[in-house]
């Protein structure tokens, strides 16, 4: 197998335009073009559009894209997927939306990333590829929206966060609940003392499990139909089975980060970190019980990751069934708040008077999260789920999961990001990647 070729574009379309303007005597050096550059008919001028590409957009990625297509200043121009059927489906989505056939399909992500006109990418490949694809994109000069979990291990998360800083790209993790009103409101209640002194944070997670088996081997399809080697990417080799590529990769140690823990945990634990104003740290200890993992922050707050067996069904005793999927619950000395994907905000009776909200909620769905990403592309600001926020919340997720896996209490140093006095746990922070897809060495074409 040859080492993939890539290139770092030395000039973008915008730079070319700006250089031409400079030569013509214009004095402005735009960092972004202000709204007055919008066309009179409301259409966004091409030079003011954000050109977006997609990498590995399956079911979840298509949901995200569906929201992003509505942004008037964004144009989805390319899709890369190792599966032909998915490439074609996403292209059809884009073409139908724009009423043309301009969306280009790629099987090789390096070809997409080599396009100088693409400003940003959305990555939703599945856990095994997230960190590497995001770094390759950043290295190619693209800003990145990356679905969660953003990496397979603590090591990948560290490399991803450091890399985003190194390349100076805008990064948004796909933890879109930070942009949803009900979750924002609940976090604000916790942060501003409306619950009294914050005591306990409940984060719902799927009951963790880890699978090491292999599905029966099936004949590999032609690469044009499904490039199995590229689908695997940095994951260790195993024989092809169609079920993996149809979404059945979850639950396997080699493909899913954190043994199912981060499927919801990347959201709910992240929300708890936010409520506790702990975006720059993690709990210090993690201890498994039969039904949860319990973490303790330096400020005395307890994080309880409650195991729920599936997405629906009875949530008692920790959550109300009516709050929906991904419930979180924050408990303080004067009351509690609970919310979830149903958008219901449940309050204890002691906080009954807070049920009247003064302002209509404006947070919506992934579209608000996407809008934040696109706004930050223009201002070069920090997104709500930037790489540093993502880093600590993912560290918390992985530490909790490792505590469960090892079946013992772990002590974690949130500054050095190492386990204290536990070499076995520290070795679990990294995994070997299948060559040549090494995250650690951030590829350029091998020579």
């Amino acid at each position: 197998m040859t080492t993939p070729a890539t290139s770092i574009p030395s000039i973008s379309r915008r730079t070319l335009i700006k250089k031409s303007l400079m030569a013509a005597g214009a004095i402005a050096l735009p960092y972004f073009i202000p709204s007055r550059a919008l066309g009179l008919d409301g259409n966004v001028a091409p030079s003011n559009r954000i050109n977006l590409g997609g990498i590995g957009l399956g079911r979840r990625g298509q949901q995200v894209l569906n929201d992003m297509l509505r942004e008037p200043d964004v144009r989805f121009v390319a899709i890369c997927d190792v599966q032909r059927s998915r490439r074609e489906k996403v292209k059809a989505m884009a073409d139908s939306h724009y009423g043309d056939s301009a969306c280009v399909m790629y099987r090789d992500l390096f070809e997409l990333l080599a396009r100088p006109d693409i400003d940003a990418v959305v990555i939703a490949t599945g856990d095994r590829w997230h960190a590497l694809a995001a770094l390759l994109a950043a290295r190619a000069g693209k800003d990145v929206y990356c679905e969660k979990p953003c990496g397979m291990t603590m090591g990948e998360i560290q490399a991803l966060a450091d890399g985003m800083h190194r390349y100076g790209r805008v990064f948004q993790a796909g933890t879109q609940r930070r942009s949803q009103f009900n979750f924002q409101h609940a976090a604000r209640m916790a942060q501003e003392g409306m619950l009294g002194q914050l005591k306990t944070l409940h984060a719902s997670v799927y009951s963790p499990n880890k699978g090491y088996g292999w599905l029966p081997a099936e004949p590999e399809p032609a690469p044009e139909e499904c490039d199995w080697d590229r689908w695997l990417g940095p994951a260790p080799w195993r024989p092809y089975n169609e079920r993996y590529v149809r979404g059945g990769w979850r639950g396997y140690h080699d493909f899913e980060a954190g043994g199912n823990f981060l499927d919801w945990g990347a959201h709910t634990i992240d929300l708890c970190q936010w409520a506790n104003q702990a975006d720059n740290t993690t709990p210090l200890t993690f201890e498994p019980t039969p039904t949860s993992v319990r973490g303790h922050y330096a400020n005395g707050v307890e994080l309880i990751c409650d195991f729920l067996p599936d997405a629906s069904g009875d949530r008692s005793p920790h959550y109300r069934n009516s709050t929906g999927t991904c419930p979180v619950r924050y408990e303080g000395s004067e009351g509690w708040v609970e919310t979830g994907d149903s958008r219901e905000i449940a309050l204890s009776d002691s906080l009954a008077k807070l049920r009247q909200r003064q302002f209509r909620g404006t947070g919506i769905s992934a579209s608000g999260h996407g809008r934040n990403f696109f706004d930050c592309i223009r201002t070069r600001g920090r997104t709500v789920s930037n790489q540093d926020v993502m880093r600590k919340s993912h560290m918390t997720c992985f530490a909790a999961q490792m505590s469960w896996q090892l079946g013992r209490k772990l002590t974690f140093d949130p500054v050095k990001e190492v386990f204290v006095g536990d070499d076995e746990a520290n070795r679990m922070r990294y995994r070997a990647s299948r060559a040549p897809w090494s995250l650690q060495q951030i590829l350029t074409p091998a020579i």
């Binding site: 960092y31 202000p34 007055r36 449940a346 008077k353 009247q356 060559a435 650690q440 951030i442 590829l443």
Partner: protein
């Protein structure tokens, strides 16, 4: 085959659980004992690929030192090489890294690249000479992998090699050297070696490498905080290169020091609108009292984008000085940002200030100020809100009633009920009803119902009585129940309907007997069905400890 595999799988499981018959779990975890079956699996041609792959992983998980030779033998395997490396990377013994170094001389292609990656991951200094040689041997196709591994190890010798390749005639190798150099500089920063760190950034900045990497080096160089950091920052903002300007913006956010803030403030005043808007955001990110006045000045700019950027920035400042500007902005396109800022502004005098500022303002602004005061839990303003609940403008009245929903006290109920009954606008009336329900939540059940029952005794209009009945139905107290049951025989149809609906939707099972009776003999057939359903529901009703709001 089947029996061997079955035995093997069971053994692997037992090993993973640390409970083999012949060896203790502690021995296995220490990696000193050699589970013969594990190694046999690694070497066996009978074992399946899956079992051998899993054996590699387990060998790493339990740190099995004696498995090193068997793992090393798999480093050339097209399917198992990654598993073998994962095992070797996790075995805490020099024999594992020695095996990887030995393999450098025998492998090629992706397998060689993988072993190099593993040595980089292990930061193995013994591998440095071999890795340096590989950076110069472009024929093997792993030069950049070797460079990356050197960047991870980041010894003096490694860094010298990396920087040497910045002058390579090969474009890709130069780019790789710059990239790896940045990484190596970060490793040096972690050990406090600023001198080397700065030297690397300077070398990368001035090398013939892609713009993005030069920009990254520039930003990093600025952030080392050297004496020329500010001039370098300003020069990057002036650059014609987009990546240099972006580097400047990033550094502007993160470089510490009042001198930096002062330089950026000075630049902001003269900047073109596009850059000025960006600098406003950066200054507020930097924080500090010295940024408020300059940004406040921008809030008066004739350019709309600048004003909006300034208002958004001031909304994040949270200090007393910005209150007048944000209050003024409540009447305009930036009202949402202003509201958010005023709601969280930390000034003890703000509530009184806003209450006074409300006078004479347009209805929309007054409504927003009411909402802000309610969010700030300014209960002192309740009498004002009660007065505004009868405002001719429905927007103001609604906002006041929303505020009363969370601020009104038991002694305010009589007045609140009077307001709701006097309201002509359906939306206002509905909001008043909601406000009464919410405001009474914290009281004991019969206490909360008393003023409503009192009002019911003096109100004659059927629509008003129906409203009061609905409120009692939500409250669900014993006194409310008795009152409503009596109203099932009221002379007015609207009141009877309201009474039935209230009982049908009762929050607990208290009216179950009434529902069962009505299921049989309610005068309206539809009521019989509804009563039956309600009775069934009430038969299974559990006490709910918390009610949800919509």
């Amino acid at each position: 085959m089947h029996s061997f595999r079955h035995h093997l799988t069971a053994t692997l499981l037992a090993i993973a659980l640390g409970c083999t018959g012949a060896l203790s779990g502690a021995d296995l975890i220490k990696g000193r004992a050699a589970p013969a079956e594990l190694i046999a699996a690694l070497r066996s041609s009978e074992a399946s690929l899956h079992d051998r792959a899993r054996a590699c992983q387990i060998a790493g998980e339990i740190g099995c030192i004696d498995a090193v030779p068997a793992l090393a033998a798999l480093l050339a395997d097209p399917h198992l090489a990654t598993y073998a490396r994962s095992g070797l990377e996790n075995i805490p013994d020099s024999s594992a890294s020695a095996a990887l170094i030995t393999a450098l001389g025998t492998l090629s292609g992706d397998n060689l690249a993988g072993v190099i990656d593993s040595l980089g991951a292990l930061r193995n200094k013994q591998a440095v000479p071999a890795l340096i040689a590989l950076t110069k041997d472009t024929g093997k196709g792993v030069a950049t992998h070797a460079l990356a591994a050197l960047g991870r190890i980041a010894s003096d010798e490694c860094i010298a090699t990396i920087l040497g390749h910045l002058a390579s005639t090969d474009t890709r190798l130069r780019a790789a050297a710059a990239e790896v150099g940045l990484f190596a500089a970060e490793q040096r920063r972690l050990v406090g070696d600023k001198t080397t760190e700065r030297a690397i950034y300077e070398a990368c900045r001035t090398a013939d490498v892609p713009a993005l990497l030069k920009g990254s080096a520039t930003c990093a160089a600025i952030l080392t905080g050297s004496a020329d950091a500010i001039p370098l920052l300003l020069a990057s903002l002036d650059s014609s290169d987009l990546e240099q300007r972006r580097a400047g913006l990033r550094a502007a956010r993160r470089l510490d020091g009042q001198a930096v803030t002062k330089a950026l403030v000075g630049r902001m005043h003269d900047a073109q609108p596009a850059e000025r808007a960006l600098l406003i955001g950066i200054l507020v990110d930097r924080g500090g009292p010295e940024v408020i006045a300059p940004i406040a000045l921008q809030a008066k700019c004739e350019v709309a984008e600048i004003r909006t950027a300034a208002i958004k920035a001031l909304a994040r400042c949270g200090t007393q000085e910005v209150a007048p500007i944000l209050t003024e902005a409540l009447d305009g396109v930036d009202a949402t940002s202003a509201m958010a800022g005023l709601t969280t502004l930390k000034w003890a005098g703000l509530n009184d200030y806003l209450l006074t500022a409300m006078n004479g303002k347009p209805a929309g602004v007054r409504a927003r100020i009411i909402g802000i005061l309610a969010e700030r839990r300014f209960a002192v303003a309740t009498p004002t809100f009660l007065a505004q609940a009868t405002d001719a403008d429905a927007t103001v009245a609604t906002a006041a009633l929303k505020a009363l929903g969370c601020l009104a006290q038991p002694e305010d109920m009589d007045r609140l009920i009077a307001v709701s009954l006097a309201a002509k606008d359906e939306g206002v009336r509905s909001q008043a009803e909601r406000a009464i329900n919410l405001a009474s939540q914290g009281n004991a059940p019969d206490v909360r119902s008393a003023p409503v029952i009192k009002a019911l005794g003096t109100t004659t209009k059927p629509a008003d009585r129906a409203l009061l009945v609905r409120i009692l139905g939500v409250q669900g107290s014993q006194s409310a129940l008795a009152t409503i049951q009596a109203l099932l025989k009221d002379a007015d149809e609207q009141v009877r309907e309201a009474a039935f609906r209230a009982l049908e939707g009762w929050p607990n099972a208290a009216p179950i007997a009434t529902m069962i009776t009505m299921a049989a003999d309610a005068p309206i057939p539809a009521w019989r069905i509804l009563a039956l359903r309600a009775g069934i529901r009430m038969a299974g009703t559990e006490t709910d400890t918390g009610l949800a709001c919509g």
